[in-house]
Every structure is written in structure tokens, then in C-alpha cells.
Symmetry: none
Subunit: 402 residues, 2 copies
């Protein structure tokens, strides 16, 4: 429950202790109705179970009781940032997710390819859900748009979705959406709610004007709607806040983006654990803190593929010794949020967490699972508390008061 205000004061800079935070995306699950066992309980996880038995365990709640988090806020909470106050706008999250060239001062927005009729009325807000490949092709066309004094970068997302980044002087992000949310009406005019955002509206209108021309001959996607304007998140950096030189290792661009936003260096790797472990080993001497992200478990959960999630957890388990051999002072295995396969979605359920290290009390968790860690001595704590615990176990947090 320590606030970052105190953490900042208490963080000791003279430790060489290393912290390795392994974030298994969508880690938590729920029992399969046939067996009564969750994904973690079903998987054979000798190394993770040993870690839990020898470590301090508990459950972390990303955004509080009952609140299902998106990946952005869930990760901010893990890194110790208030996920509500530090909210990253959807456009910014998209841009981070797309791995776009996106930096301080830039403004991002989401684009939806849509269909408009001869009068400019929106007929289909998703242009018939054009395939991703078509979206990519259209983004290449859109990339030809030029706005004076502004660098425009466009990138395709899935299906009809794309993102755009504007880089230029004096751009604000308080701009309303052009998506009218209904059909049979024209796109809404963009409206700036602050003076500094008026220049953004001019830029975006210039972009939209060119988009209309560039896409005029296309079908069904002959226009774009803009929504979710957001600036590059201006968050306190981990080296300032925690005195940590931090490295983010993630295969999926959005997680590198969030890591970069809190001041980590990032290393681009493949989606496989082999690449991640190799990158970790190569850079191990250069950093104090490592955030390593495993994505596929979440995707398996979202696909409702219980068995695949079990298999991926078992594969992950086999890599735990590869982390342990580096002998980090603190090794934490947790997740950003739960993604129970039976729910096919992120959920609010708190996430199993084990902290291994010299000062971690082995608190009798029987296994690394929702119920196993739930019996641990941490109880249920906010995800935002985990960084303080990581720092404490690394002896990187000074005493408060005399």
C-alpha cells in the first residue's frame, strides 16, 4: 500500500540486487467444469510448484475487486503506477501496441475504415469488417497523406482497425471522436475541448480530407473514422521512481510499448520463450530489473482453449530453471490479470503470485495455482503493491522513519 511518493524517497540506489519479474499474460484461470481444476491446477508444473512452496505467495488484484482490466492498466498496476490516474488513452495504447514510432509530444488516434455514401453519410462503421490484409493495403495508401509541418504515421491493426500518429509542434489530445456511433449520418466534426488541441483538429481535418481523396475509389472501405485521441503517456520513469535500470523483454509490441512508457529499455524478441531467455541472458549484466512477458497464455484463454493454456503453462514451467540459473536476488512469477479459458476473456479474478528470494518466507502454498497461492501469506493485495515488495525483497527499499 506504499504510494510511489514514499517509494521514491525510500529507494536505495546502492544495491546491485537484481529483480526478475516474469509476467504470464492472463495467468489466472477457473476450474474446468469436467474436472473442477483450473488451468494451473491441471498443468504439471514441477518448477513453478517448487517455487511457490519455497517462496512467499498470494493473489494480486489488478484494479480492485470485480474490475476486469485491459492490458494497459493491468501492466501499469504491476509496475506500481496508479492504473486509474495513469490511464493511457486508447489511441496511445493502439499506437504502443502497433509498435509505431511514437514518442513524447506525439498524438495518436485510432482509425476505423468505414463506408460512406455519395453524400458522405456513414453506411457501415466497419466497412464490412474488411480482412486484415486489406486493412494493411489501405494503410499503405493512407500513408501518402501529407500534412504541412507534421509527420504522419499510419499502421494497420486487425481487420478494419488502424492507428495514426501525428508528430509536430503544439498538439493537444483533447479532441472528440468523429465516429458517430450510428449509421445514416455524416461523421461528427472533431471538436477540441482545449485551446492546445485546436491545432490537432486542424491537422486531423487535413488528414481526413486527404483520406477521403485517397480512398475515394476503394470499396467498401472508402473513408476513415477517428476516435480515442491520446498523447504519448507522460509517466514517471522507473529509474527516477525506483532507482532501477530496467529492461523489458516482450515479443508483442504493445508490451514493449508500455514498458518503454515507464522508462524501460526494451528488447524486441520473438514470441517464443527461447528467444526471451536468450535475450535475458545476453543483457543480464546491464540491468537491475527485468520485465519478461509471456503472451500466448492469454491468447489461449481468450480463445477458450483450456488444453492449450495448460500446455503453454507446462512449456513455461520448463523454462523456469533457465531463469533461476541466473540467480536473481528476487524472482517473481505473476500475471497482469486472469483470463480463464472457460470465460474466453480477461476477468477480475486476482492473480496467483509467488516471490522467491532469500528473504521470502516459505508460507506453505501447496502449489502454484489460484487456490495454492490464495493460501499464501500475502493474502490478496493490489497489484500496485508488488513493486514495493520486489524492491523490499531485493533490499532496495530503505527504512521509513527512525
Amino acid at each position: 500500500m506504499i504510494s510511489s511518493e514514499y517509494t521514491r524517497e525510500l529507494c536505495s540506489r546502492d544495491s546491485a540486487a537484481k529483480i526478475l519479474l516474469l509476467v504470464v499474460d492472463g495467468l489466472g484461470g477457473l476450474p474446468h467444469p469436467d474436472t473442477g481444476k483450473s488451468e494451473l491446477e491441471t498443468a504439471r508444473l514441477p518448477h513453478l510448484d517448487a517455487l511457490a512452496k519455497g517462496g512467499t505467495c498470494g493473489l494480486i488484484s489488478p484494479l480492485g475487486a470485480g474490475v476486469t482490466p485491459g492490458s494497459g492498466p493491468a501492466h501499469l498496476a504491476l509496475f506500481g503506477y496508479d492504473p486509474f490516474k495513469s490511464e493511457i488513452g486508447r489511441g496511445a495504447l493502439s499506437a504502443l501496441g502497433l509498435g509505431l514510432d511514437f514518442a513524447r509530444g506525439d498524438i495518436a488516434a485510432r482509425l476505423n475504415f468505414c463506408t460512406v455514401d455519395a453524400e458522405g453519410l456513414v453506411q457501415d462503421r466497419r466497412a464490412g469488417r474488411i480482412p486484415t490484409e486489406k486493412g494493411r493495403e489501405l494503410c499503405q495508401i493512407l500513408q501518402r497523406a501529407q500534412v504541412s509541418g507534421v509527420k504522419v504515421t499510419v499502421a494497420a491493426e486487425m481487420e478494419y482497425r488502424a492507428g495514426v500518429v501525428f508528430r509536430g509542434e503544439g498538439l493537444g489530445d483533447e479532441v472528440s471522436d468523429s465516429d458517430p456511433q450510428v449509421t445514416g449520418v455524416p461523421p461528427k466534426p472533431l471538436i477540441a475541448s482545449t485551446a492546445s488541441s485546436e491545432r490537432t483538429v486542424e491537422v486531423a481535418n487535413a488528414f481526413l480530407g486527404q483520406a477521403a481523396e485517397l480512398l475515394a475509389e476503394q470499396s467498401p472501405a472508402n473513408m476513415v473514422l477517428m476516435r480515442g485521441f491520446g498523447r504519448y503517456p507522460e509517466l514517471a520513469q522507473m529509474d527516477e521512481v525506483y532507482g532501477l535500470k530496467a529492461l523489458g523483454i516482450a515479443g508483442y509490441p504493445m508490451y514493449r510499448g508500455v514498458a518503454g512508457a515507464v522508462g524501460m529499455d526494451v528488447v524486441e524478441v520473438g514470441w517464443d520463450l527461447e528467444s526471451e531467455c536468450t535475450a535475458l541472458k545476453e543483457r543480464y549484466d546491464d540491468y537491475d530489473f527485468f520485465y519478461m512477458h509471456v503472451k500466448k497464455t492469454d491468447s489461449a484463454g481468450e480463445d477458450g482453449n483450456f488444453d492449450l493454456k495448460v500446455q503453454l503453462l507446462e512449456e513455461l514451467d520448463a523454462y523456469i530453471p533457465r531463469l533461476q540459473v541466473l540467480n536473481p536476488e528476487v524472482l517473481i512469477v505473476t500475471g497482469d490479470h486472469s483470463t480463464p479459458a472457460i470465460m474466453r476473456s480477461h476477468s477480475w479474478h486476482p492473480v496467483p503470485t509467488a516471490i522467491a528470494g532469500q528473504w521470502a518466507l516459505a508460507d506453505g502454498a501447496s502449489e502454484f495455482s489460484e487456490r495454492g497461492c490464495g493460501a499464501g501469506s500475502l493474502g490478496v493485495i493490489p497489484s500496485t503493491s508488488l513493486m514495493s515488495l520486489a524492491l523490499a525483497h531485493a533490499r532496495r527499499l530503505d527504512k521509513f522513519g527512525a
Copy 2:
């Protein structure tokens, strides 16, 4: 953790999932010194135990560690309202409790029948604790008081206590008490601390003048003292906040009053579970959320009647199948606060809670009790978090952030 501000944004309106919140007043207890078992641990509760074993359990803390709540704040917390910011004035709570005609804009105050001497000095602040029946008779007399432009409603409470509601234009509630707290002095003058409350002082003084005349010949209760001025609580309504059409089912008027104050429709029933279950069944199709209140357990606790509380819990247990047969998506059994019979009073101890539903992890609670639920995966959470959990389990809460 989540504020109602976020809950409001996240609440999904397009779900038909129903939530049934069974509030057992004064539910939590403490062990009997002879047996070492609490009321819940002593009672034979096959249905509640099964519910706990198959559901997600924990303890809810009404107002935080160590704070013993009154019924008003305890219920506000259960409904997800900040119990400190949303405080309901004592006069308002009395008026709600008496089931008086009390609505937005009205001002309520508590009345104590007292004895004054010929000089108007207070001799007995409680008029010798007149019996309730006498209080009722005196309230009928007081009801004759007429104040121009204002509707006055008087109702008896227990013994020397009563309540009054003023309905009229421009009435504020920032008015001090007339009760001097000591004897041998005159009642204190009412003082308005805001301009809008000066009209209330005029009205109250007119009422007190008539009370003195109407009660002049009575003995020992020949006057009233006024205290606890409060307006009808202006709270956000549950349909706005949560998107829930809510019904409150309670035998005791105060609980219907609190339910009404947060925007529930209320149904007046007897104090017996049979009437409550019948009302629930009859109205089940018309609402999304049901608050059902069981009062007698608290009274048994306050009377120090351990055995009666055990018996009442066993009687309640037999009704659980009557709730389950309606098949609500989420069934929560909890209490507003603890009332250990050995303490003969409300207490601060967190309250056993079980959540049953499709997405509730059976977290291994061995029984429905303080210690059984204490081992559950919810840990100890604020009572104010329970509504978010209820909504989440009903899939009525959207994801926060992308």
C-alpha cells in the same frame, strides 16, 4: 478500490443477469466461551455451508478495521456507497426507520420527550423513560401542531423517542440541537449555521411553541427536545450508478428507507422469511437486483441471546433453497455488520460472505462462518467492494482500459 465514478462508466446495461443480495443483519459473531464456537459455527447450516464450499468466500469490512458501524452506514457500504461521504443524518435515519412519509427536500429531526419545570428548565431529558405506548399517545397529540406552509409529520419511536418531518419550501438542515445534554438549564436555542437553514429554525421554533402548549398538561413528558436535524439523503440512484433496476425487500421500515434512498423500489413485508421469499418470487421477473434483509439475527445478538441467534440462523438456512430455485446468476449471502451475542452490540469484526455463481471459484472455504469464509480467496475486502464483485460475477461490468 474502484470508485463509483468508474463503476458508473463500466456498468453494462445490456445484461439480463440477476443478482440476489441476502443481508443477514448482525451476521458475524464470536465464539461462545463454553464451546469456542461462534453462532455460525454452532448452528447446523447445511445449505449455507454448501454455498460457501461451492462459492467464493471472504470477509467484508463495513467501515474499515476497528470501526463499528451503525445500520445506515453499514448498508450504504454494502450498496457500494462511501459510508463516510454519504452519511445520513441521524434525524433522517430515524425518519427512514419510522417509515415516515419522507422525501427529497424534507427535513427530519429526532424528538426526545422530556420534563421541564415551571421556569422551562429541563428536569429530565428522557421524561422518566416513558413507555413506548405513552410515547405513541403523545405523538398523536403533537401531530395537531400546525406550522404555516409546512406539513408536519410526527411518529413515535421506542420509549421517549420520536421523530418529526417538516415538508416545505427552502428548508436547510444545518441546525443545532435544542437538547442541552444536562439538566437544570433551559433547552438550547436552535441555531442555523447556513442561511438556508434559518427558515428551518423558524419552522422548528413554531413547532416547539405549539408542542409546549399541546403537552402543558401532560406529566412527566411535557415538552420535547430536538436533535439530529437532517435532510432526506440525496444519493445517486442505483439505476444511474449501476444500471440496475433494484428491489428492496425488508420487514423493518428503516431498511426499506435506506433501500429507497439509493433508488430501489421497496416492498413492505412481514418480518418473517416466508413473506420475504413470497415477495421475492412474485416480483422476481421485474427486477435485476434484489436486496433482501433479515433483521432478527441482529436483535438476538444485541439481546445477548446466543442460542436464539443460532436458531434463527438455522431457520434462515432452511430458506436458502427457496432462493436458489429462482436461479439468480449471482447469489450473495452476507451481513451489514457483525453483532456477536457475547458483545450484545454491533461490532467491527468483518462479516462472512459467500458469492455463488457460474464464475465464482470454489476456494475451499470449509463452512459458512467467520473462520471458514476467512480462509476464502477474497481475503478481507471493504464492504464497498462487494457491489463491484456482484456486478462482475453477473458479467455486468465492462473491462477497464484496452
